[in-house]
């Protein structure tokens, strides 16, 4: 009766699923797609970083942020600033009235590089900023909100407002940020041309490796006692508090972790797509990212990756043929998921498909084990979650 309660990093089943996703991302997609389409999927995968963070914050911890685009954007802008400075050599910008500064600054009658742009001449600084800036910003928001016990719908609305404010700020400060066009015309990374097909292919794989690093980090958190505490907090916050935990610090931590993931995703977006703009920061992309996680399954980090790929692939395919229908379709999809499949594709897989497959193979006497739910579902809170309300608006 002595049951082994080891906390394994991956169960055998999870290891298989990780392996399958690795096969899809490292083998199947690169082999099946031409370099244009592969780059497109590389772009989709940068959103998956955000979705993984949302699984931890929202699925596990019950903290719904509708402003993850902010962190994606901050990471993306940090990377874009470095690339823009590298592209703005005095020779390349000789025709400007002030050569050596980014073109959009020159257009806005700015005559010297602002002091806060200076450090972005350094690649090392910029790479650190890709993670640190979103984390620092998330930390400030987290302390301000969670210490005051702001949560639920209020938190969701505030994060959404922050996304809106940041977008307006970026657009308004055109001379410093490139305004509504964003930071464009990025060329090289330490002299390496990132616009070639070959470079894009390499960046796709760099992105994939980083994605798996984040997946492993997320898996470690889920497996740790902190992961179980998040679930406990989602269901019985007071009980956790009165078991001697400072609930706010755990929320701040997971929110910052999600921001770090999003920042890395944003930087990889900039590198692969070649620009960064406020359209990736605001309310709409932030909500879309929540939908990716919801469709994939907000309790499953792997599900979030599949959900991101699937929704984006559908978006590209459908919006090519029916551009005006896409947003409607996305909204309907979200409502359908929240109402009928609260655990998304991952839930559908582990609750519907797997049990049937097991039954099918049970006859052979294989030791059938119950499915290991990625995160125990909180079915009660699913239909009336803030996201559902937000979607209904």
């Amino acid at each position: 009766m002595q049951i082994d309660r080891k906390t394994r990093f991956l169960t055998r089943e999870e290891a298989i699923y990780f392996g399958l996703l690795a096969a899809v991302i490292f083998l199947i997609l690169p082999l099946a797609l031409d370099s244009f389409r592969l780059n497109l999927f590389g772009k989709y995968l940068t959103y998956a970083f955000v979705a993984i963070g949302l699984v931890l914050c929202w699925g596990a911890g019950g903290i719904l942020s509708l402003g993850q685009g902010v962190f994606f954007g901050l990471g993306g802008y940090a990377m874009a600033m470095f690339l823009k400075l590298e592209a703005s050599t005095p020779e390349a910008t000789a025709i400007q009235s002030t050569p050596g500064i980014p073109d959009f600054m020159d257009w806005n009658q700015i005559t010297a590089l602002p002091w806060w742009w200076e450090p972005f001449n350094s690649l090392a600084f910029s790479l650190i900023a890709v993670v640190i800036v979103p984390v620092a910003f998330a930390f400030i928001i987290g302390v301000a909100m969670f210490r005051r016990r702001v949560g639920g719908v209020y938190f969701a609305i505030i994060t959404q407002a922050i996304a809106a404010i940041l977008t307006i700020l970026i657009i308004g400060q055109q001379g410093f940020t490139g305004g509504v066009n964003g930071i464009t015309d990025l060329r090289t990374l330490k002299g390496w041309d990132i616009r070639t097909d070959e470079a894009k292919e390499i960046l796709y794989f760099v992105n994939a490796v980083l994605l798996f690093a984040c997946l492993f980090a997320a898996q470690y958190v889920r497996r740790s006692k902190l992961g179980r505490l998040l679930i406990a907090m989602r269901d019985q916050e007071d009980r956790v508090r009165f078991s001697g935990y400072d609930v706010a610090s755990f929320k701040i931590f997971v929110f910052c972790l999600g921001a770090a993931f999003a920042g890395i995703g944003g930087a990889m977006f900039t590198l692969q797509v070649g620009f960064m703009s406020p359209t990736l920061v605001g309310i709409v992309p932030s909500i879309e990212m929540v939908i990716f996680a919801a469709v994939g399954g907000r309790l499953s980090i792997l599900g979030a990756v599949y959900g991101t790929l699937l929704v984006n692939w559908a978006k590209t395919t459908l919006s090519e043929s029916f551009p005006e229908l896409w947003l409607l379709g996305l909204g309907a999809l979200f409502i359908a998921v929240v109402m009928f499949f609260p655990n998304g594709l991952a839930g559908l897989w582990s609750e519907q498909v797997m049990p049937r497959l097991r039954k099918l193979f049970a006859g052979r006497g294989a030791g059938a084990r119950p499915p290991a739910a990625p995160f125990p579902a909180n079915s009660a809170s699913a239909p009336d979650s803030p996201a559902a309300k937000a979607a209904a608006e």
């Binding site: 049951i3 309660r5 001697g244 935990y245």
Partner: protein, 249 residues
């Protein structure tokens, strides 16, 4: 006449909380000694739960003082109060339904309570042995791997008591631990409580008079946020004021 004597585990003095002018607890003073089991009784709405809420920091007091072994609790955060040694069971059972009984107990194990402490927490033999030991005490040893959602009401109450026991608090506060239990469960719980109140101070809120008589060292009768009577059970039981507002019906 405030007594600044350190021999008390808990000294509550002039404790008052006002909700928009309504004083749910009004100038309450009482002291709990080491190893004492203090039972609080009183009609519905008397303010019993609110007193526990004030002690453990869930509700902020309007005025007064709550000292636990020379620490002023009123200025401390909830989790700091818990780590100082005050455990609290809620009136409705609150356990983590999505986690197993084992995991429920593990989260209360007094180690790794910081962010990084819990990130790098190791489930070692000490943890497992202690959980096994507690599980046997609370009659749940065979259900360690069961999800807490599948437990009966009484079992959930026991689990929550177990979650407190594993913290090993010096002061244990229980809000109606036998409410909603079957007769058999009640008996088992009384036996359980008698065992665990042995070497610690306990404040219990309870309506069941038979149960109270069984475990109480002293009794405080609360009425409209004030002490109506206090002392040994047989003294309180025969107090005409108590009979009038509480025991009479």
């Amino acid at each position: 006449m405030s007594i600044h004597q350190t021999s008390f585990v808990l000294s509550v003095e002039d404790l008052t909380v006002s909700f928009d002018g309504f004083k749910a607890v009004d100038g309450l003073t009482f002291y709990v000694e080491p190893n004492e089991c203090r039972v609080m009784i009183g009609p519905n709405g008397a303010g019993k739960t609110t007193v526990l809420d004030l002690i453990c920091g869930r509700t902020r007091a309007t005025s007064g003082s709550v000292r636990f072994k020379d620490q002023e609790l009123l200025s401390m955060r909830e989790d700091q109060i818990v780590l100082a040694g005050v455990g609290r069971k809620f009136q409705t059972p609150s356990v983590y339904e999505d986690l197993s009984v084992f995991e429920n107990l593990e989260l209360s194990f007094p180690r790794g309570h910081g962010v990084f402490g819990s990130l790098f927490f190791r489930r070692d033999a000490e943890v497992k042995d202690r959980i096994q030991e507690i599980a046997e005490t609370i009659f749940l040893a065979d259900l360690l791997d069961e999800k807490a959602a599948f437990l009966s009401h009484g079992q959930k109450q026991w689990l929550e008591i177990g979650m407190l026991l594993i913290q090993d608090p010096e002061l244990l506060m229980l809000d109606e631990p036998v409410a909603g239990m079957s007769v058999a469960e009640r008996k088992k719980t009384a036996e359980l409580l008698n065992r665990i109140i042995d070497h610690r101070s306990v404040i219990v809120i309870e309506h069941d008079m038979g149960f109270v008589e069984d475990i109480a060292t002293r009794v405080t009768v609360l009425h409209q946020g004030k002490t109506l009577s206090e002392g040994k059970m047989d003294k309180v039981k025969n107090d005409p004021k108590v009979i009038e507002v509480y025991l009479g019906h």
